[in-house]
């Protein structure tokens, strides 16, 4: 009989097999980082403790800890064809793209041909064995293994991912799509996507980071993204989550902003049994600004947790958060917005809002926008709402001949519109407009009678 392994031991076994299969020629710092990751993980494990665990208070990761996932060491046996997944995400033929299948770079699905000189769009695997300068300087400096067991594991199993480096003064005009696909396996797998985006002075990029599941069954994505913006850099960042219905997804995004840089991000989240989107932005130089918006849609028994943190460290920075949730069935969502205005951060402007549309009596939202202000000359607002579908609006639509489904669709799409209108990348906005107004049976408004 196989011995029963603790959750930490399960990953240690995987790690040993993983380490042995690593290619030769990697720099010492990469191996050190992995060792730090696994050591940290051994120390802290996954954050399953419920008591005194403020960051994970509303999200029980017990099901992730108790499940057994296999980390595929070998490259995937088969690469899916574009036709198998392109409808699941905002795929545009003329965009630049890096595609990863089960955590490994898939060059045949990727296209970086149109990138301007000096711009580096590459797989991390390649970067770690060749010129690792940008990677060495930045990787795991912001999303360190010390944050929690998830970032520790991601560092321990670091192997591949996306490296985006736009040097000083270069604006990448063509949008860049990063796709992390998980395919069907005989037994549940775990992958560790890693993304590093480094923008030089006055560099600009439009980036869509997509996590897409082709597997109906259970799997686990433990993703970490770091975005570094030098002075005057501008990033339009979209995080698109469309994992399988049984998937677990834990994502950590760390953003470090220099002087006068802007980071504008919109998240769209759908699918997943348990999902967490951890975002932390450091406004570390005067004049930096960020916009963090998001739209989450949950149904069935799904659980979606957005933990959005902004640290205002320096004066004259602004941040705004606008999130909206559409909750159906017995699903549950969490929004924790946390803005800290540090003592030196005078003239800070910060807003935070979260609004939720509950389509059923059983859906549940825990929303807690919070502000911690240690400076005295600031302008900050926050608020949150949750409500059911407006029965009068619903009747109005139906009185014009629209059946229950169409009326629901129009109201859901209407609720999403404020977030969609904030997306400046037109093909993505149009894609999400179609998606949120399409027939989504699990998102039908359930009538009282």
């Amino acid at each position: 009989m196989a011995p029963v392994l603790t959750d930490v031991e399960k990953y240690l076994t995987d790690f040993q097999a993983f380490e042995q299969a690593l290619p030769a020629g990697e720099a010492a710092w990469v191996r050190d980082l992995r060792r730090r990751g696994i050591a940290r993980f051994q120390e802290v494990g996954l954050p399953t403790a419920r008591k005194g665990n403020e960051r994970w208070k509303y999200t029980n990761v017990g099901p992730i800890a108790s499940a057994t996932f296999h980390h595929p060491v070998a490259a995937p046996a088969r690469t899916p064809a574009v036709a198998e997944f392109r409808d699941l995400l905002p795929w545009q033929e003329d965009w630049l793209r890096l595609v990863f299948v089960d955590g490994r770079f898939a060059p045949e699905l990727s296209d970086t041909a149109g990138a301007p000189d000096g711009v580096r769009l590459d797989s991390l695997a390649a970067a770690l064995t060749s010129d690792g300068q940008v990677a060495e300087q930045h990787l795991a400096r912001y999303a360190t293994p010390d944050i929690d067991g998830f970032t520790a594991l991601n560092a321990a199993f670091l192997r591949d991912g996306a490296l985006v480096h736009v040097p000083d003064g270069v604006e990448l005009a063509t949008p860049l799509l990063l796709v992390y696909l998980t395919t069907e396996h005989d037994s549940p797998v775990v992958t560790y996507p890693r993304t590093l985006v480094v923008l030089g002075r006055n560099a600009a990029v439009t980036l869509v980071e997509a996590y897409v599941g082709l597997a109906a069954g259970r799997y686990f994505t433990d993703a970490v993204t770091e975005v570094v913006l030098d002075e005057g850099a501008r990033a339009h960042h979209y995080r698109y989550l469309r994992e399988g219905a049984e998937a677990f997804h834990i994502g950590t995004t760390k953003v470090h902003q220099g002087r006068d840089s802007t980071f504008e991000s919109v998240a769209f989240e759908m699918g997943c049994a348990i999902a967490r989107n951890d975002v932390h932005v450091l406004l570390d130089d005067p004049g930096a600004s960020c916009v963090l918006n998001g739209l989450y849609m949950t149904a069935g028994t799904q659980h979606m947790d957005n933990d959005i943190n902004i640290d205002h460290l320096k004066p004259h920075c602004s941040s705004s958060q606008y999130w909206k949730g559409i909750l159906a069935g017995r699903s549950r969502a969490v929004y924790s917005g946390r803005v800290v205005v540090h003592r030196d951060a005078q003239k800070t402007y910060a807003t935070q809002a979260d609004k939720n549309l509950l389509l059923s009596e059983e859906a549940e939202i825990d929303t807690k926008p919070s502000l911690f202000i240690y400076a005295d000359d600031v302008q900050c607002t926050h608020g949150a709402t949750a409500g059911h579908i407006d029965e009068d609006a619903y009747f109005y639509l139906r009185s014009r001949g629209l059946d229950a489904e169409t009326a629901s669709r129009l109201l859901i799409n209407g609720f999403a519109r404020e977030i969609l209108d904030g997306i400046s990348l037109a093909p993505l906005r149009e894609y999400l407009d179609r998606l949120t107004s399409s027939s989504l049976p699990e998102f039908r408004f359930s009538e009282r009678r």
Binding site: D392, F395, R398, S399, G401, L402, D403, A404, F415, R417
Partner: protein
């Protein structure tokens, strides 16, 4: 009422037949045996004081939840209207112009009306309009109701003035082409110019195939729309019926006179 007009034999089928309609909201009975027959092409005005059940009648005809029909029946083109969902009623050709049109933030007017028209066309076995055909029709109807195209760029009714909302109701009426339009206090909250525009729309949309039921508190709308029949609703029943002159009589003598003349509690 039309069917009580005496010796005149009408071979047409009634569009709407309301018989002994009793309706309650919660514990309170609001309609207490209402009878009404409407033939195609007719315009009926139903006047009544506050609390007489005017809006209840409009809402029950359109299928708004929150009301309980405790007795009686309503036939629309011979079919049981009360058994239909609100959207079925609309597709069958019933239209309610709301007293308080609802604002629908984020719902685009064009998409909303195209969806509604598609549903109605499909029900009538007609091919849905192409985007181009729809836009042409839409533009035409906007001109009919003198609506600024700029308003149509906004979400449905969002930030519209009272008059703009009512005009939007008329636009929808014109576009969806119902057989019976029930107008629930369309005149309330309108200034005289807006009232005139709304009345003009009704007059233009009158025709041998289409009937109107105008529900109103005041006679003034009837200065611009001449109804075929006027009924007075008091305490949940139509207690008096007549021609257009009845409206003027009620206006000058007041509803207390109606109650006395009809012998209902004051």
């Amino acid at each position: 009422m039309a069917e009580m007009e005496g010796s005149k034999v009408d071979h047409r089928e009634p569009l709407l037949t309301v018989r002994n309609l009793h309706v309650a909201a919660g514990e309170v009975e609001i309609l207490k045996g209402l009878d009404l027959t409407v033939y195609p092409g007719e315009v009926h005005a139903i006047m009544g004081p506050n609390g007489s059940g005017k809006s209840t009648l409009s809402n029950v005809l359109a299928g708004k939840p929150d009301y309980e029909v405790t007795d009686g029946e309503v036939l629309f083109q011979g079919r049981d209207l009360l058994a239909m969902t609100p959207d079925e009623r609309a597709r069958e050709g019933l239209f309610l112009a709301f007293q308080y049109p609802v604002e629908l933030p984020g719902v685009r007017t064009r998409q909303f009306l195209k969806s509604a028209l598609d549903a109605i066309y499909q029900h009538r076995g007609r091919k849905p309009l192409s985007i181009r055909e729809f836009d042409k029709l839409f533009k035409e109807k906007m001109q009919l109701v003198q609506m600024s195209p700029e308003l149509m760029q906004r979400s449905v009714n969002e930030g519209f003035s009272g008059g703009e909302k009512k005009r939007n109701e008329m636009l929808q009426l014109a576009l969806l082409d119902p057989k019976l339009a029930v107008m629930d206090e369309t005149d309330s909250g309108l200034d005289i110019d807006a009232l005139r525009i709304v009345a003009e729309c009704v007059n233009r949309l009158r025709g041998p195939e289409r009937a109107f039921v105008l529900v109103t508190h005041y006679q003034r709308l009837l200065n611009y729309i001449t109804p075929d029949f006027v009924h007075i609703l008091v305490d949940g029943r139509l207690v008096m019926s007549g021609g257009p002159e009845l409206a003027l009589e009620v206006e000058s003598k007041g509803y207390d006179w109606v109650k006395q003349a009809a012998g209902v509690g004051s």
